[in-house]
Subunit: 155 residues, 3 copies
């Protein structure tokens, strides 16, 4: 029997990706009590970084929003694994921290990270509303356009 | 009856601002158990970003310190809301993470974020002493000079 | 009687440094319940920043890896203090957040922060495996090459 969130994902036409494995000597999430700390997710899609380049230097807002959305899907995949496969066990998304690779003159970081925040609220409803930080960085692993960390609470 | 922290704020001549609303699809704080995660606060004052520009490229240390102080006042406003209006319920400030918009040659990030840390200790005393990170970034939302995230513990 | 982790450190030939004091108005760690939040550690060795400069602008990967390793040793020192001197009380390392001072064209942040992650796993074994983020920044306090924050869980 599909859960409430899985049903919502089906409505939205979203397939939870295979959770990316960590690219170095760390693990994709750690659970402490009811808190899940999710490692920074880059826009891996089908095993490669699907969104690269920097805002203000060739990467459009639309490209960066899609990158943020890809990061959120990978966070979703990690949360599903953290919840033993049952996304209904995610009581709430607590926090997202979004890094945007950009030039010094770029100022629209919130618009970019909305690609993740909006999708989180579409999927989880009120439980997807989170505290957030969005900041610029000169570069990210593998020239990713965005990287996003998450903290969630398990039911 | 004013609380202990409100009395201290009055002594310091500090008025807690109206907590800024989130500028995107997220919320300004999330409480999990006794931990409050406060979203990254930029130097909004009276509804606009009051401190913009970068350290090393026109923004002085004094300007940046004032920006960090404005961020801390907004964190204070969010914590007051998180504590149901009673700042005495903030058991302690756990962590501040300060981002300083700056050029690559800038090295005085700690001096800048002291604008927030010093004010936190003035207001909360020992309970205001926190773990901290201070880092540079190429740019922040709306060309803010600083952005600061916080974690606090409720009594 | 030396603990399990102290014995492992002896095997590895690692001496836990004196925990660096905070360079500003904050404290090096805060404990809330079983979580320890460690302030951002720069590569202080014997009271001075031992690794400075930026990846992509003179600092080699090897230099940056050594910088990340120095940050991890300082995190270790702080965790030892947080655990009342007994590193066996560290139940697990939950999270590392690594900032790499670099140019916009740098893409090997994970390799750099592996200097910390690999050492954590050498010291703590499976309990040292952590969630992680690695991002670039234009500059860090005192021209440090890396800065790393940590969250750990006490037994």
């Amino acid at each position: 029997m599909a859960g409430k969130i899985e049903a919502r994902l089906a409505e939205l036409g979203i397939v939870v990706p295979t959770p990316p494995t960590a690219v170095a000597n760390y693990i994709p999430f750690v659970t402490v009590g009811r808190l899940v700390f999710v490692a920074g997710q880059v826009p891996f899609v089908d095993g490669r970084i699907a969104f690269s380049g920097k805002c203000g230097a060739g990467a459009s807002i639309e490209h960066a929003v899609a990158s943020a959305r890809a990061c959120l899907l990978n966070i979703l995949a990690q949360l599903k694994a953290a919840a033993g496969g049952d996304l209904d066990r995610i009581a709430r998304l607590v926090q997202l921290r979004g890094y945007v690779a950009c030039t010094p003159d770029f100022t629209d970081h919130p618009k970019v990270i909305n690609g993740a925040s909006d999708l989180a609220v579409q999927i989880f409803g009120d439980a997807g509303r989170h505290a957030r930080a969005a900041v610029g960085v000169p570069s990210l692993p593998g020239d990713s356009t965005t990287e996003i960390e998450a903290v969630a609470e398990l039911a």
